[in-house]
């Protein structure tokens, strides 16, 4: 089924990483696992950013590259504008709380994505529409436990295991995150189903200075069960100091944003 492999958390991670430059590393003394994840997530909340990125979708027999600009306000609001390739240029995605709209210049219409489409792939990538909508799930839907410390690419990380709360609306049986101890960015995330089988793997690398802070700029989301299926997201620039409020994230804005 083409709806399979919902990588709904992937983009959460993307956003977390993209936004976590706001972290106050001095405050990271506490090693309570829940606190680490919450802190990373809180960093995303209430922060506004503008970034440019490219996304490469890789499949065994083809690959495709896209460029985009995105604006965000916490995890509740964001706007993504596709800038390349030509066919997709100008397409806008707007997320407001639990709803998502798509604006397509070709048809000059904004369409609300219905529930039945939420698990569909986003722009043909290994992310789903849901990944863009339910971004704070990692904090609120799981019990987090630090289960170890590892060094990845020279960064000291906590290995944090997330077990879903009994009634949390998440499909994963277990999530394991590797979060840098001092910088609080995520370097790896692995998603398992209820039988303990690894389904998705997200890896972050190429930590670079963006705006005023260092963040991993290259994210790779792999579909472990389908070799050769992966999506690579490369952050090209970030401005962590833009001035937007929730009014910016409107259907009107979808039509005019460039």
């Amino acid at each position: 089924m083409s709806l399979s492999t919902a990588m709904r958390i992937g983009l959460t991670a993307l956003l977390l990483v993209a936004l976590d430059a706001g972290i106050d590393s001095a405050g990271a003394q506490e090693v309570d696992a829940r606190e680490i994840v919450r802190r990373a997530n809180d960093l995303a909340r209430g922060l506004n950013s503008y970034s440019t990125a490219s996304m490469q979708i890789e499949r065994p027999d083809w690959s495709r590259e896209m460029s985009m600009k995105s604006w965000s306000l916490g995890t509740e609001y964001y706007l993504i504008l596709i800038t390349a390739p030509a066919r997709d240029k100008g397409q806008v995605f707007l997320k407001r709380e639990n709803d998502m709209w798509s604006w397509v210049p070709r048809v000059q219409r904004a369409i609300k994505i219905p529930p039945s489409m939420m698990n569909q792939s986003w722009m043909g990538s290994d992310f789903t529409n849901n990944d863009l909508v339910r971004v704070d799930s990692l904090v609120i839907d799981y019990i987090q436990t630090v289960t170890g410390e590892e060094t990845i690419h020279g960064y000291e990380t906590y290995r944090i295991e997330l077990m879903p709360l009994p009634e949390a609306p998440v499909v994963w049986g277990r999530v394991v995150l590797w979060i840098a101890k001092t910088e609080y960015f995520m370097l790896r995330a692995q998603y398992y189903d209820e039988d303990g089988e690894l389904i998705n793997r997200l890896t972050a690398s190429e930590v670079k200075l963006m705006d005023d802070r260092e963040i991993p700029t290259r994210l790779v989301m792999e579909d472990v069960k389908k070799p050769g299926h992966r999506t690579i997201m490369v952050t090209e620039s970030v401005d962590f100091h833009i001035d937007v409020d929730d009014a910016f994230f409107s259907q009107q804005q979808m039509r005019t944003v460039r």
Partner: protein
Amino acid sequence: MLWTLAWRNVWRNRRRSGLTLATILLAVVLGLLMRSMQYGSYDAMIASTVARGGHIQVHGEGYWDNKSIDRSIRADAATLGQIMTVDGVVDLVPRLESFALISFGDRTKPAAVIGTDPTVEHRYTALADRVVEGDYLAEGQRGVLLLSSLADYLGAKVGDEVVLLGAGYRGQTAADLLPVIGIFDLAMMGNLETGLAYVPLVAARELYAAPADQVTSLSVMLGDGDTAWATADILATMLGTEYEVMTWHETSKEVVQQIQSDSAGGIFMLGILYMVAGFGLLGTVLMSTMERRREFGVMNAVGLRKGRLATVLFIETLALVIVGVILGLLVSLPIIYWFHLHPIPVSGDLVKIFQDFNVPPFIPFALDPGIFVAQGLVVLVMALIVASFPIVSIRRLHIIRAITGR
């Protein structure tokens, strides 16, 4: 002379022979009509299955299990030409289909959007006849044909422009604004959770951002449906492993099973009918054997071997049955032929049932020679069984008792 004897005996008791003939004739006619109707309905089911999917479907490898537009194939003129050279292939129906959101006003519903060649599509599915409002699609036209329930949900009328939005080829955005050319009605089984829409093939490629010549399926139409398996093998070998080639038996397993189960039921009923007719025949044969016991005794006494005597009797019964079968065929043929040409239209609620089974609302009669041959053979086998009873009685014939009538 034995033949003469057999022949004259048949005519000796005309009324009895006539009744025997009538019994066989009735069995053959009823059996043929029943079977013809059954086969007719199977033909209709298969025809509707084949019309929608072709005798054979060619897809990209793995498409059937995972219907993604990314598993579509290139159906350029060379490929099509190559397929057309295969013996028995008479036509190809290219389709490019995937799911997209269809939106009008503030209503949005996912639907299967099928890109097809309007002319070829109509040739097989008579889609144009299903149009209840507006017009049918024209080749190269930018427009969409909506299923009536979908149009109702959206509140879209002919002439309105609806938005189609979805994932296109290789993850590209599939988006288009197309006018509703027509609204069609199609009786379908199952839920109406998803809608259905047709667009011309070119518009579908544009919508899904698929390259020219790209299709998700090629329905191969054959001159003779019976060659589907063989032709599929040829195509599979010819096209190689990047393609999957499936016959309608594989793509519509439930149709095959429905036909099988219904046919089994029909055969069961025919069995009963023939059993009843067989008993009638047996009664006649036994009577005639008993009546002529004395005659048999004499013939045996004057030197006719029992074996040959039994042969005569056997031939007699068989001759009668063959005549009965032939008469039955002669009577049935015009009836079946008439109904084959003029299928009985069903009325009222039955129309719905027929449509639910995706067949036209007619009681069709099949004119398959196989039915006639099979029925004839079945009756003959029954006759052979019945005709062997006199052989037993001849074997047990006691000459003296037979002659003296004791």
